[in-house]
């Protein structure tokens, strides 16, 4: 029991990926995630965060290293994992209603149980009233909630969030952050959030993994020991939050500057 508890839900062990020899994306990316832990991955834009996520989801196989789930390797996208993509309008199916979209991944189970779980997921993201509409009839925030419901309805152990709040307005983003934190805590989900928003990472996560510029390596892992539940006002005003935010921000900015310098160098040649 004790051993099983300590087995990480996800281990990245020196994962490397290159689209070609000249374009390495990931190099020796290593970190691990405990069950129920909320990990946020930040890094300069274009550093390979999304590629890393695709390797974790087995949408892509890494060239080097291994991705382990409870100590095991895996091939195709496994059933214990689900993803919310940034561009909800490209991942929700326009020919299905909100309810049908949410139930899309639930097959081969009893119809009644299926309906029940879809209703639960819809109510968890506050979309019961819009269940029979098409996703394109909804606002961006509602569409992203629909995508979130579709991901949690399959009861994954690990939820991957690929910049899920990047395409919505500021107020909606805040509401979505609270909703996601709430759902992940209630379901004791392990969550891996990829974001370029440092405030968001520090505010939501238990651990922030800072990636370097391309090829991405882990620069530092920072434990975020802010108390739960977290509040958009009080947590973000606390000295501890500001200290952590300062630290992560400095690391990312340093990487971004290195990246900019590299770009100028390349353009000079």
């Amino acid at each position: 029991m004790g051993a099983a508890m300590s087995e990480p839900i996800l281990v990245m062990n020196k994962v490397g990926k290159a689209y070609s020899a000249a374009v390495p994306i990931l190099r020796d990316v290593s970190f691990s995630q405990a069950p129920g832990e909320f990990v946020a991955v930040v890094g300069p834009s274009g550093c390979g965060k999304t590629t890393m996520l695709r390797c974790i989801a087995a949408l892509m196989q890494p060239d080097q290293g291994e991705v382990l789930h409870l100590g095991q390797q895996f091939g195709d996208p496994p059933p214990w994992l689900s993803i919310v993509f940034q561009d909800y309008n490209r991942s929700l199916f326009p020919w299905l209603s909100v309810r049908q979209n949410v139930g899309f991944g639930l097959r081969k189970i009893d119809r009644r149980e299926r309906d029940e779980r879809v209703e639960q997921a819809l109510s968890a993201v506050n979309l019961t009233h819009a269940a029979d509409l098409y996703p394109w009839q909804l606002s961006g925030g509602m569409q992203q909630r629909c995508a979130l419901a579709r991901s949690i309805v399959v009861r994954p152990q690990l939820l991957l969030l690929d910049e899920p709040f990047a395409s919505v307005d500021a107020q909606t983003r805040i509401d979505l952050q609270d909703m996601v934190m709430d759902i992940c805590k209630k379901m004791s989900l392990s969550t891996l959030l990829v974001t370029h928003d440092i405030d968001e990472a520090v505010f939501m996560a238990d651990k922030v993994v800072v990636l370097s510029t391309r090829p991405a390596q882990v620069v530092e892992q920072i434990e975020i020991d802010l108390p739960h539940p977290r509040d958009q006002l009080t947590t973000k005003e606390s000295p501890e939050f500001l200290r952590l935010r300062h630290r992560v921000y400095t690391l990312v900015r340093h990487q971004a500057q290195k990246s900019a310098a590299a770009h100028t160098e390349r353009e000079d040649q």
Binding site: A57, L59, D76, P77, P79, L81, S82, I83, F85, D87, R90, S91, F93, P94, W95, F104, G105, R107, Y134, W136, R150, V154
Partner: protein, 292 residues
Amino acid sequence: MEGARVTFRSDTVDAPAPNILTWLFRRVGSLNELLKISPRLGVLVKGAAGVAGAILIWELIRALRIVDPRDLPAFLAIFRTALQGLWGGELAVAIVATIGSWAPGLFIAAVLGVAAGIALALMPRLEVATRPLLEFLRPIPSVALIPVALLVLGIGLQMQLFMIAFASIWPVLFSTKAGVESVDPRFLETGRVLGLGKAARMARIVLPSTLPFVATGLRTASAIALVLAITVEMLTGRPGIGFYIENVRLNGLITEMWAAILVTGVLGYLVNALFMALERIALPWSPENRER
């Protein structure tokens, strides 16, 4: 219902009408309001105005004798003849015959076009191998193949169906192929993450997202099929509206000829309207059919 009626009455009866000009302004004003409230009605009214204008120009050409009036009967005469022909006349028989070859010809084109479009989109090697052939066949005017079809298949339904299907398969084929090729890869990734195998992704993602493309291809093909059905009838004497037009022309029945042409135009319009309506009903989610 009753309330609306009362308002209406008070509006017309109680309204002060000092002179005809204010009354006219009121009328025009309310018509404008009506058109604004219902844009669909506005479209209808404007379309009707266009048709009325065309009839007016027709009558003007007759009155000014730009064309010999014997070749250009009065519109009303044409219209009356068309109605008579449709009401149990020869024209009705001809239309039924034309539709009788148009529909199966289009059906063949649809089945083969969709199948070939999907196959070409999914099998890049097949696509590369057949590309020169298709690019060679496609631009050939179908009418130019009629002599060949006559030689090989002779005069008959078989030959007519071949011509209709050959001409109308292209929009279906290329539209379907484009549809399959343009399926958003993110849709497919979403399917993979949700545990769909290759066949399930095909049936539940590729197919539905291709349907609007198929519908557009079919609508284009339906018009082409009609053109070919009528052309073959004219050239080979197959029964139908094409043959009817040619026949009455040879017999100097000019009003009957124009009546048949008018009916053909209306038929084309209705076929297009039918396919658009089917699209709206079957694919309410497709970007073309979404509300606003």
